[in-house]
């Protein structure tokens, strides 16, 4: 009997090891485990969620909103965010904005400023709607296109679990974004001349530099 039990334990142990070995390396998932802990896909649209009066969800119950349109009336822009995590605590609170990027060659060592800026614009638009953003994180998810395609081939339709992908998290600070938008107004509303970037790295990534369309390219 003891031998039988011992065998059962051994088989259970080996089966457990085999199961764990089959789980893919989720480096990115680990980085996101805190971000996505206890998050439910929302049945409401973002607009409905922000206008909830009677049936407010319980405090700390967090919801994921995907592919939602946002508009900033004050700064006159609109866009569509990849993901936003919110909860209610008297007022709607934005926990995180998730922005996904699929680079072709390499994953950057740190979040690209333009990607952080983009995610910040979504947060700013929500802040304007009365959402509290005092502890909002901007999560930029980078997953190489080749890896993403491999994930799709394995029917893993989630970029966060992709191999070799990375997440960078930044705290949302509205002031620099507002300042930047004010600078942009020159071009949009005061007929300011468009200023070419002096940074070669940005020109390297620009198709206008490569095909000769841009006279100012420093690539």
């Amino acid at each position: 009997m003891d031998d039988m039990l011992s065998l059962v334990f051994l088989v259970t142990f080996l089966a457990g090891l085999a199961a764990m070995a089959s789980w893919k390396n989720g480096g990115l998932l680990r980085a996101n485990s805190r971000l996505l802990r206890n998050v439910d896909q929302s049945d409401w649209t973002l607009r409905q969620f922000l206008n909830l009066n009677l049936s407010r969800p319980k405090a700390k119950e967090r919801f994921l909103f995907s592919e939602e349109s946002v508009v900033s009336v004050g700064y006159r822009y609109n866009g569509r965010l990849d993901g936003a995590i919110l909860h209610w605590e008297g007022v709607p609170i934005l926990d995180a904005i998730i922005e996904r990027k699929f680079p072709t060659r390499s994953i950057p060592d740190k979040a690209k400023p333009e990607d952080v800026f983009q995610a910040g614009l979504y947060a700013l638009a929500l802040m304007e709607k009365g959402v509290s953003c005092s502890s909002t994180l901007l999560a930029i998810v980078y997953c190489l296109q080749d890896d993403a395609r491999k994930c799709l081939d394995r029917n893993e339709v989630s970029c966060l679990g992709c191999d070799n992908s990375r997440v960078f998290q930044k705290k949302f600070k509205p002031k620099p974004i507002i300042k930047q938008l004010q600078k942009f107004d020159d071009y949009w509303y005061r007929d300011g001349k468009p200023r070419p970037t002096p940074e070669p790295s940005k020109c390297n990534a620009c198709p206008n530099g490569k095909n000769g369309t841009c006279n100012y390219s420093v690539a």
């Binding site: 039990l5 011992s6 334990f9 051994l10 259970t12 142990f13 089966a15 457990g16 090891l17 199961a19 764990m20 998932l29 996101n32 802990r37 998050v39 896909q41 994921l64 995907s66 592919e67 006159r76 822009y77 609109n78 866009g79 569509r80 990849d82 993901g83 996904r100 990027k101 699929f102 072709t104 333009e114 990607d115 800026f117 983009q118 614009l121 997953c143 296109q145 994930c151 799709l152 893993e156 339709v157 989630s158 970029c159 966060l160 942009f184 949009w188 509303y189 007929d191 468009p194 200023r195 070419p196 970037t197 940005k202 020109c203 990534a205 620009c206 198709p207 206008n208 095909n211 841009c214």
Partner: protein, 84 residues
């Protein structure tokens, strides 16, 4: 105010345009003047955006409890096998 400026000031700006402007204002100007240069990488990126979504990740997090249970069971089985 010129006509083009008046037209521009009336409409809402796209976040993608503001992102381009953040990268390089002249790149945005060229995009508006001659149209967007859609590279193959950009097209593939858009397609991946559509095909890969964030929702399954929520389900995956729920599956985490199951994984922890398997881990605990494996450890217990190992302990009982060695010391039992």
């Amino acid at each position: 105010m010129t006509e083009s400026l008046l037209k521009r000031s009336r409409r809402y700006r796209e976040v993608s345009d503001l992102r381009t402007q953040f990268q390089c204002e002249y790149r945005l100007y060229l995009k508006q003047k001659i149209g967007a240069t859609a590279t193959r990488a950009a097209l593939m990126g858009s397609r991946l955006h559509e095909q890969i979504n964030l929702n399954p990740e929520v389900n995956r997090q729920r599956g985490k409890t199951f994984r922890i249970a398997v881990l605990l069971l494996t450890i217990l089985a190992a302990v009982f096998w060695v010391f039992g």
